[in-house]
Symmetry: C2
Subunit: 330 residues, 2 copies
């Protein structure tokens, strides 16, 4: 690889001026600028990013924390982020935290060490107080997360609206005995609290009360879905619809339904969440809440890039609209 010194030798022009040309600084005569550009071209010279970073002059890598790549929700997010970043010639270092607090810290340290110039967190295990100190070292953007830190932009959907829309859909289809999956019915912050609120509001709007027997806590995987379905078949007083909060759970339920001879949606309507590709594969195909993942990822990337450029953001909270997708399961 040619270095700046090679360009200096070839062009007979000083290092300082060559650097000015590289960085498009003013105060360089047209004549010299052209000589330098010619020499750079002849040597097919590219400035060494490592050297530039030494002086803190380079913003070209963003760190991306996801829970797991194999979770389609995150892989679609990564896809959108990487594409937007690539457009701007930004590199993406990714990292699976699996909600491990220690590992999360280790990755955040890359910011401290200037190995990355900013971070997009799509999942965060640590608390606000633990994250805040890292802001000193570079910009952070939250995407799909619920933590709020002043000055940290956040991109997400309105979970309350999503739950409200989903449950209202079930009610409008005529179902009245609604089961519900959540991380915790009495969560006092985050996603779950807002989804719970949306659920309650939708039920109250029809003067319906919540049957605690039909509330399932912490169900996430396909396997969990099978368990939920099993439990429901064993109930005397069965719900006629379920808001699963997750396509995986919903998919697991369709599999178990076949085994137990439960008909969806006749015996039990099932509503997913996310609109992942698997919705089209199950039988019946899943009705679900479509999350604008593409837009979320793309926006998060745009925000971090703006921050790289030192631009001020006019807005810090972005709530993107969800959409109900009705298919066969409701």
């Amino acid at each position: 690889m040619a270095t700046i010194s090679d360009v200096v030798k070839r062009s007979g022009i000083s290092k300082a001026t060559v650097s000015r040309v590289i960085n498009n600084h003013p105060h360089v005569s047209k004549e010299k600028r052209e000589k330098v550009l010619a020499a750079m071209k002849e040597l097919s010279y590219t400035p060494n990013p490592t050297a530039r970073r030494m002086r803190g002059q380079l913003n070209t890598t963003v760190g991306l924390v996801v829970h797991r790549v194999v979770n389609p929700y995150f892989s679609y997010l990564m896809d959108a982020i990487e594409r937007k970043a690539a457009e701007h010639n930004i590199r993406v270092i990714f990292f699976q935290s699996k909600e491990d607090k220690q590992k999360e810290f280790e990755f955040l340290d890359l910011l401290k060490q200037k190995q990355v110039d900013g971070m997009i967190l799509t999942t965060v295990a640590n608390s606000v107080e633990d994250i805040r100190p890292y802001l000193e070292y570079g910009p952070i953007v939250f995407c799909n997360e619920y933590l709020r830190i002043d000055d940290v932009p956040i991109v997400r959907i309105s979970e309350e609206d999503a739950a409200f829309t989903g449950v209202t859909h079930l009610l409008e289809e005529g179902y009245r005995n609604i089961a519900y999956c959540t991380g915790g019915l009495f969560a006092d912050e985050g996603k779950d609290r807002d989804r719970n609120t949306g659920f309650r509001k939708a039920m109250e709007a029809k003067q319906l009360s919540i049957n605690p027997e039909w509330v399932f806590i912490d169900q996430h995987s396909i396997e969990d879905g099978r368990t939920v379905m099993k439990k429901i078949t064993e109930m005397d007083n069965k719900p006629d619809a379920i808001f699963t909060g997750s396509d995986e759970v919903a998919a697991g339920m369709t599999i178990a339904a076949r085994e137990y001879g439960v008909k969806i949606p006749e015996d039990l309507a099932v509503l997913g969440f996310d609109d992942q590709p698997l919705c089209l594969l199950t039988s019946p195909q899943l009705s679900t809440i479509h999350q604008p993942i593409e837009e979320m990822g793309s926006l998060a990337a745009e925000l971090i890039i703006k921050l790289f450029k030192g631009e001020k953001l006019e807005q810090l909270e972005y709530e993107l609209p969800i959409k109900l997708v009705k298919r066969e399961s409701t």
Copy 2:
């Protein structure tokens, strides 16, 4: 962030010796070593990776090229690679090439510029001749690819064995009219050639000939699968089994089968390829060829890490075993 100079000041020991301690070099007295370590601890000092990289003394990032993150095959590969890398404190910069030759070059340039210290290519658009020059700048490992370059280690499955095993399975289940999806029946290199060979050998072993009408070229997506199923329903002389070469295609076929009232496997047996999670979601669940993705990714990461350390590899070609998974579709 504390720098080496801060450690120098605090410990009263020279930069050179501090560096020796950092890098565990010999010829440092126990006494000074401990003083330095104490100072480092007190300042919670971490060496700046960018500075170390300047002197070519750091191997901590690997570039990873995939086709698309959202393709589960690749996301599982990424998962395995990232996990193994994280164990060794190696960072992964990923990149979606989408088979774009120009973009692939741009990413390979990171190797030239020492932005990454090595590359794992799980898909490659350019030719051997185009890739070879980059070897000068750092190690490359192929994973899931078919290109052969001397000295470049490669991790993959035996496509011939996979096709042979798959088709033989169909034959053993009693099917005789086997349809087949491939990138090209007369491919003279790569995956397709080997799969074709496997297909032919399996058929010849039963003295069966190949019906060219039943060979589908370049089918990859769920949508493609629907098309294939449609074409088959329109045939006068129908196959009774199909080797799809792809879970997606197989999944698409199950969806279309429902629409056209085709019974799987009674009317048509369908065999997938990869053993992706979606195999369990379709109805019927898909029989498929299980690829050892986990092992492939993990091994590829191990190889690049060995090369980082300057170790010699005793073996360059790794063919990992596939496994037939029989479910409901055959």
